[in-house]
């Protein structure tokens, strides 16, 4: 602690770095966030995306807290600015007493009336001193920790991990740049503003990852060995992650010519006995509809990840939205059983992806894991992931057939059974020969259009999920005697949790149900909560209130009200709090 300085003690901190796309804004934010995550804080990092490659404003906002937080803060405490646009664009977020640290190079100025403190630091010049102007980001990091009264060596580990492969010299230079920023502030900074974070409660064993990372790792852990996909924002990371890892496990990733190829390829792979997946976003999902029907009809277990972004059409390719619910539930022609899982945190992304592969094989149907841009791309603190918790269950997979039981007949791949699920054999097995077709077929898979067979086969397939409610289909939190129930799914968990916390702390009686399984829809479970509420409010990031309408569709009969946002950005907790306050 530095003597003679007044510190404001913070439960949590909101920090942002802004500049031009291509200036390394991202990695600056991530370095800061990772360092604080390692220190045991709960961190949430959200990047302001745009579909431009270079140029154009971008920023990375980091929230650092002593409690788990799954959303950006409404406000800002510290803004690091590499250009004037970053100040002008973000200054309104600064809360009183906030700090702007800006590069001297562009002669920064605060807008008239801004209640913030401006530190002008020669980022570029100091970086040059340390070795190269590209390290101006490091200088900014150093300045940041000075204001936070943290030691510069919190960055040592991250810097080492990032640059070690480029040699010790690069590591040293970067640390030096950080120190330059720190020292400059120490020498030239005044005491106008100084912030201090409460010590972290966390163990420091936490991970820091985005939903896409967790899905990739989840897939690997679940035994996914064939991945086929076509690049698309915000799903591409999943493919790119698996491209890096598959060689370690003898698997393969194919970057296909389009999404249609991708889904048909994984259907082929799954038919062949591999655990297989694809990942895409809205436009690709739309293209996959025909083959999703094929997977349903042929009872082939595939996993499809849909990372939602702003629609319709190309829409807002780098912005957040939750508007593919209808498409994932109802997009394909005809009627198939289908499972849709909707994780809401990176941790859930991991475990639900694992579950997706199990469910796909247990129920022999396509499983869609639906996320949204904020969940896919925002980085968050994650509790240590447990390999022991992962069980691979391949359902009714048959790897050996006694041909003498067949009486010269084909294998009954689509045998009528009590639960509608039939033994599944894979090509290569002696005695397992059968036929697979998207045409209506009989028990051995041969085309059969007779009315009686048709009706029975439709029943068989649909029966697999009829009346089923999967474990943990939703999570509930709140007081026993709640009056209002807030319902949401996906990444809005974060903003909802905070808004609810705040409302309850003000004496309202508000509970929160977050839906994790969209199909088969947990009508029974959800009803037990909606029936007890005076007031049900559905919170979602789309224009038409998809979840609320789907609830009706699936038989939730209580009236609901909707809070929607569809401007490309996730809810901010305070904003949502304000909206809900008027409704509870």
């Amino acid at each position: 602690m530095i003597r003679g300085v007044t510190h404001r003690m913070l439960e949590e901190l909101s920090w942002k770095v802004g500049g031009q796309q291509g200036e390394g804004i991202d990695s600056t934010g991530e370095t800061f966030a990772t360092a604080l995550n390692r220190r045991g804080y709960y961190v949430y990092g959200y990047r302001h995306f745009s579909s431009r490659i270079k140029g154009g404003h971008t920023n990375y906002k980091v929230r650092v807290s002593t409690k788990r937080r799954l959303a950006s803060a409404d406000y800002l405490d510290i803004l690091i600015a590499f250009d004037q646009e970053s100040i002008d664009f973000n200054i309104k977020e600064l809360r009183p007493g906030g700090v702007v640290i800006a590069d001297e190079k562009f002669h920064p100025a605060l807008p008239e009336g801004a209640g913030a403190v401006l530190y002008t630091v020669p980022f570029t010049q100091l970086a040059e001193t340390a070795g190269s102007s590209i390290m101006k980001n490091m200088v900014a990091l150093g300045a940041s920790v000075y204001v936070l009264d943290l030691p510069v060596d919190i960055f040592a580990g991250v810097i080492h991990d990032t640059f070690a492969r480029k040699g010790q010299k690069v590591v040293d230079q970067n640390m030096e740049a950080i120190r330059q920023g720190y020292n400059y502030m120490k020498e030239h900074g005044d005491n106008r503003a100084k912030l201090q974070l409460k010590p972290a409660a966390g163990s420091g064993q936490h991970l820091f990852m985005m939903g896409n990372d967790a899905i990739g790792l989840g897939a690997l852990t679940a035994g996914c060995r064939v991945m086929a996909a076509y690049p698309i924002t915000p799903a591409s990371d999943i493919m790119e992650y698996l491209i890096k890892k598959m060689p370690k496990v003898g698997g393969v990733v194919v970057q296909t010519e389009d999404e249609i190829a991708a889904i048909n390829m994984i259907i082929g792979a799954a038919y062949g006995g591999a655990r297989a997946m694809t990942a895409t976003s809205g436009p690709g999902l739309s293209l996959m509809m025909e083959a999703i029907g094929l997977a349903g009809m042929t009872e082939t277990p595939v996993v499809i990840v849909d990372t939602q972004r702003g629609g319709p059409s190309t829409g807002l390719p780098t912005k957040h939205e939750q508007s593919d619910l209808y498409a994932v539930l109802f997009g394909n022609h005809g009627e198939i059983p289908k499972i849709v899982l909707a994780p809401s945190t990176a941790e859930e992304c991991f475990y639900e992806t694992v579950r997706a592969f199990n469910l796909a094989e247990q129920y022999q149907c396509p499983v869609i894991v639906i996320t949204d841009l904020a969940l896919s791309l925002a980085k968050q603190t994650v509790e240590p992931l447990r390999l022991e918790a992962v069980q691979i269950d391949r359902g009714k997979l048959v790897r050996e057939v006694d041909p003498s039981h067949l009486n010269g007949q084909l294998f009954k791949r689509y045998a009528f059974t009590e639960d509608g699920i039939s033994p599944r054999v894979i090509p290569g097995v002696k005695g397992g020969i059968h036929h697979v077709t998207g045409v209506e077929h009989n028990e051995v898979g041969r085309p059969d259009e007779s009315a009686a067979n048709r009706a029975r086969m439709m029943h068989k397939r649909l029966k697999k999920l009829e009346g089923v409610e999967l474990e943990g289909s939703l999570s509930f939190n709140g007081p026993e005697d709640y009056e209002t129930l807030i319902v949401g799914f996906g990444s809005s968990r974060g903003p909802i949790e905070e808004a609810v916390e705040r409302l309850n702390s003000e004496g309202r009686r508000v509970a929160h149900a977050h839906i994790k399984v969209l199909a088969p829809f947990p009508t029974k479970t959800l009803s037990t909560y909606t029936e007890k509420a005076h007031n049900v409010v559905v919170v979602e990031n789309n224009a038409t209130g998809q979840l609320s309408k789907i609830m009706k569709f699936f038989g939730i009969s209580v009236p609901t009200r909707s809070v929607t946002k569809f401007d490309g950005n996730p809810f901010l907790p305070g904003e949502l709090y304000q909206e809900l306050k008027g409704l509870v």
């Binding site: 048909n264 082929g268 038919y271 062949g272 002696k430 020969i433 045409v439």
Partner: protein, 287 residues
């Protein structure tokens, strides 16, 4: 060891009597027997069309996917189980109409699968519409005044796209066809066998007789060298695509052989559990 009989099943094809596809079915069955394969070691993946029904008429594993997507599915299957002999099959509409993009990309990718197209220059199953291999001027249900598009030459395009093995056959030349299919299966990489397989019901132009009159059999030209791509291209252009026999062949590693870290043991039979050390290593990256 399996004989041709073992590759037959008890299903009567729903093809019209005289359809060229019967010969293709027989040629595949014979080729498989000749190669000493067992039925369960083989999978036929087919698209939608009259021809696409073929996967149900051969006693092997069979997968009948959606229209135009036999190749992506076949490639996925091969990746899951590299020990299988994977044959993709379908019609000209399926493979060179809706599926044309997949075809060329499969050529580029070069997995070790065999693609057999029953090219009848017509859409059979949907009852006689003009197909992408129908000639300019061809009259059919959807071109009553004559086709104003130009036919795609599958072999030409495949050669231009860098295919490693391409042959053409004719339903009336079942022995040659059997040999070509055999050789295609033996070839380590993506192999196309395009078969002139007349549709006796809807294509009144490209009949058995018409083919007999127009086709050039490359096997009758001892000077023909199927290892020269430019020469092959010239030959195909010269004959208007109407040549049969082995057209081009070039040895090179297949896709599976180039995948980093890919194992000789098929994925389908591997233990899926992740090595805890690998898991740890992966997790550490996020710490």
């Amino acid at each position: 060891m399996a004989t041709v009989k073992d590759f037959r099943n008890n299903v009567r094809p729903n093809w019209c009597p005289g359809c060229g596809d019967f010969s293709v079915q027989a040629a595949i069955q014979r080729a498989l027997a000749n190669l000493g394969l067992e039925p369960e070691q083989v999978a036929v993946v087919s698209g939608i069309g009259c021809s696409g029904r073929i996967s149900g008429y051969i006693n092997t594993y069979g997968f009948h996917g959606v229209h135009g997507r036999a190749l992506p599915a076949a490639q996925g299957l091969k990746l899951a189980n590299r020990d299988l002999t994977v044959i993709a099959a379908g019609g000209d509409g399926d493979g060179f109409g809706i599926g044309l993009g997949h075809f060329i990309h499969a050529v580029r990718r070069n997995l070790d699968i065999t693609y057999i197209v029953m090219d009848n220059q017509i859409y059979g199953l949907t009852k006689g519409q003009t197909s992408p291999t129908s000639a300019h001027g061809f009259k059919a249900k959807t071109t009553p005044n004559g086709n104003i598009e130009h036919a795609v030459g599958p072999v030409q395009v495949a050669l231009a796209a860098g295919i490693g093995f391409v042959a053409q056959g004719f339903s009336s030349e079942i022995n040659q066809l059997t040999r070509l299919v055999e050789e295609a299966i033996r070839y380590k990489g993506f192999a196309l066998v395009n078969v002139f397989s007349p549709c006796v019901t809807f294509n009144k132009v490209n009949t058995y007789d018409w083919f007999k009159q127009h086709i050039v059999n490359l096997e009758e030209d001892p000077a023909y060298d199927p290892t020269d791509r430019v020469r092959a291209m010239q030959k195909v252009l010269e004959t208007g695509g109407l040549c049969i026999g082995l057209i081009y062949k070039e040895e090179r590693p297949s896709y599976e052989e180039l995948i980093p870290g890919f194992k000789p043991e098929p994925i389908a039979w591997q233990n899926l559990e992740l090595d805890p050390a690998v898991f740890e290593e992966c997790v550490r990256e996020f710490a």
